[in-house]
């Protein structure tokens, strides 16, 4: 056996660089276009609109945080830092595409058509926040990490059966890729060649657990390989790259080619949620600073200012307008009726069975006092 040779070189397989996905970037941290040939086909007005949405989201995040501290909002998952990942991906989709958000993806939901007042009601734990008009192609933010991936796959299979020209888009985070449902969603959608875009917003931490502890995989995008679907990694702080990749993914998947997985590399500046999370327990200021220098608003602001499309005055005016809109939405949410148990009992089934009828009678009596 002196000349025995190993059948497999596992060390080499482990270090295979082909698994290391290249990250797509168009606009660098300094607001310079690094790959002009990849520039998305967006008009000046559209570029400005995308920036407006990101500014809106940043202001919403600041105001929502303040409102939460005042006790005027409930559950809130901060979004600052993820504006390119969230709004630029959403910007590539249409109103008839179906959105499955995670709990941090309220900005996309609102841009997709959910009135802000309803988003606030959802945060406060009011049923009216989830009464979606038929025309709103979306589900409320998913709480069970991964569940949105299999449901999105289901809608995509349905769209294919209906020969729809639309697509489903769904978000999770880096932690979500560890769930079985993440893989089942990808795998089913691949097997059915369904029109779905699976987005992983990799912000580096699942609450406190760093991305490195979630998986031995070099990238999260490579998880698409096992499902046999194309996957790509994109600079999630670069709105132009996120938009372009999402737009191309939409064209690819709606043409009947099956689903796509997109990993956006991003960061949340704030805590996981405002319910007691303290990021200083698991992140360093040095890491925060590295990511703050990559800020999506800063680079888009420079890019648009250089093109003569943006000014500080314009931004200040927008900020005031957004604050006014948020105030109006909060006032509207304040006007929502008090919730009653009888209202819940009435919507547990379409036709009320005996036990529910009895309980409606019981709670009607209680609630009429």
């Amino acid at each position: 056996m002196a000349n025995h040779k190993a059948a497999v070189n596992f060390e080499k397989l482990l270090s295979d660089e082909s698994k290391d996905f290249k990250t797509i970037q168009i606009l660098d941290a300094a607001g310079q276009v690094t790959q002009p040939e990849l520039m998305p086909n967006l008009s000046d007005d559209q570029l400005v609109e995308l920036m407006q949405q990101m500014v809106w989201s940043r202001v919403l995040d600041q105001r929502a945080t303040a409102l939460n501290r005042q006790g005027r909002l409930g559950f809130y998952a901060p979004t600052a830092g993820q504006e390119a990942s969230q709004l630029a991906s959403n910007f590539a989709m249409t109103k008839d595409d179906f959105l499955f958000p995670g709990y941090r993806d309220v900005p996309q939901l609102v841009q997709h058509g959910l009135p802000l007042s309803q988003a606030f009601l959802w945060s406060r734990g009011h049923i009216d926040g989830n009464k979606y008009p038929e025309s709103l192609k979306a589900m409320p933010p998913q709480i069970i990490i991964g569940a949105q991936y299999i449901q999105a796959m289901g809608v995509a299979v349905g769209m294919k059966k209906r020969q729809s020209a639309n697509a489903v888009y769904v978000y999770t985070g880096d932690g979500g890729t560890s769930q079985g449902d993440f893989y089942e969603g990808l795998n089913f959608a691949g097997a059915f060649k369904a029109p779905a875009i699976f987005v992983v917003q990799n912000n580096g931490f699942a609450i406190s657990v760093p991305r490195e502890k979630q998986t031995a995989a070099v990238t999260l995008a490579q998880k698409g390989v096992a499902a046999g679907i194309p996957a790509i990694q994109v600079d999630g702080m670069d709105p132009l790259a996120v938009y372009e990749v999402m737009k191309e993914a939409r064209a690819f998947t709606t043409a009947g080619n099956g689903p796509v997985l997109i990993e956006t590399l991003t960061y949340r500046y704030g805590p996981h949620t405002l319910s007691g999370d303290d990021p200083t327990r698991y992140r360093t200021k040095e890491t925060d600073d590295i990511w703050l220098k990559r800020d999506p608003l800063v680079r888009m602001r420079r890019f648009l200012t250089d093109k003569g499309l943006w000014s500080q005055d314009q931004e200040d005016q927008l900020i005031e307008q957004v604050k006014t809109d948020i105030k109006a939405a909060i006032n509207e949410a304040d006007a929502a009726p008090k919730q009653k148990v009888t209202d819940f009992l009435n919507v547990t089934f379409e036709d009320q069975p005996q036990n529910i009828k009895e309980q409606i009678a019981e709670y009607s009596a209680k609630e009429s006092n």
Partner: protein
């Protein structure tokens, strides 16, 4: 009219519903070309096409998510979970998601999903196939749990379940699939959900049960009749929510109760039936409420099934205890 086994009645119901409503879709593991491991979907793919009756990858959670997504697209999904013992893999879709959707979205969306699954003991399956976990699902608000005990009901209840705009877990007892035939009309008909049936009328004791235990209870009743004990057998049919009216009416008539469930004793459907009777008809009782059930062990290895599963003799003995109290 034709004599049909329960599995034939189920196939027939699926066939009629596929023909009746183009939004009805049947899918699961091996339900397509293979017609299901029990042949419940035999011939349906050939007749209705691969778009309507199709195989899925082998993953129950994915099947649950697929059902929810298809319902959101306006379909009426009828997924099959190959064995109810595999239900844990899709518990979030069933318990956490589809059951909650109408409520969660303030009646703006609905989940007309019928999850079919074979369950129950007595057919010597390998371990982890036969578990009687129906009681677990009955605690979940927003979903009905239906268990037919015969071919006629199986067809009518399944059609009613598929047409319901709320989710239904429809459990098919494996031992009943081919154990007997009865007259089943060829045309479409429904058997109402949420309604129990009085299978055998009697005045001395109420035997309240469902699924395969209905046959055992009827067998026991025949023996008891020889001793002039007239037992009434109630087949719950829908075990969540319960048809409390029918239960209470029977107990008020007989004053004695034996609740029979194939499942283990701890919690479950029998316990709920006992509670309802205690709350509503305790003054009609002439003896303590009795239960016949399996013991509180995991579902047994195949060779021990006969001693583990409750049977007609156990029911007969328990009825006599209650009568002689």
């Amino acid at each position: 009219m034709a004599q049909k086994t329960m599995i034939q009645a189920i196939t027939n119901a699926l066939d009629l519903e596929l023909a009746d409503d183009k939004n009805v879709l049947i899918f699961g593991e091996d339900v397509g070309k293979n017609g299901g491991v029990f042949r419940a979907t035999e011939g349906l793919q050939t007749k209705h096409g691969e778009e309507r009756v199709f195989d899925t990858p082998l993953a129950e959670s994915g099947i649950g998510g697929l059902s929810i997504g298809l319902a959101l697209e306006g379909f009426r999904p009828v997924p099959e979970i190959q064995f109810f013992g595999f239900v844990f893999e899709t518990m979030d879709s069933i318990a956490g998601q589809m059951s909650r959707t109408r409520y969660r979205m303030g009646n703006t969306r609905q989940m007309p999903i019928t999850v079919r699954a074979p369950f129950g003991g007595g057919v010597h399956t390998p371990e982890m196939h036969s578990d009687n976990f129906e009681g677990m699902i009955t605690q979940i608000p927003g979903i009905r749990v239906v268990v037919p005990s015969n071919p006629y009901d199986a067809k009518g209840l399944l059609i009613a379940a598929i047409r319901s705009n709320d989710p239904v877990l429809y459990l098919e007892h494996m031992k009943l699939y081919r154990s007997f035939r009865e007259e089943v009309p060829d045309e479409s008909y429904t058997v109402p959900l949420d309604k129990a049936a009085v299978v055998t009328e009697g005045t001395d004791v109420s035997i309240i049960t469902y699924g395969a235990m209905v046959r055992e209870a009827v067998k026991a009743t025949e023996n008891l009749a020889k001793e002039n004990i007239k037992a009434e057998v109630i087949d719950l049919r829908t075990i969540a929510p319960l048809d409390v009216e029918t239960i209470v009416a029977s107990v008020e008539k007989t004053g004695r109760v034996v609740i029979v469930q194939e499942a283990q004793r701890q919690a479950g459907v029998g316990a709920q039936v006992a509670s309802e009777i205690s709350e509503r008809a305790v003054l009609s009782l002439e003896a303590p409420i009795a239960r016949v059930s399996a013991p509180d062990t995991p579902f047994p290895f195949g060779q021990a099934e006969a001693t583990w599963l409750p049977n007609a003799t156990d029911i007969e003995n328990k009825v006599k205890e209650v009568i002689n109290f």
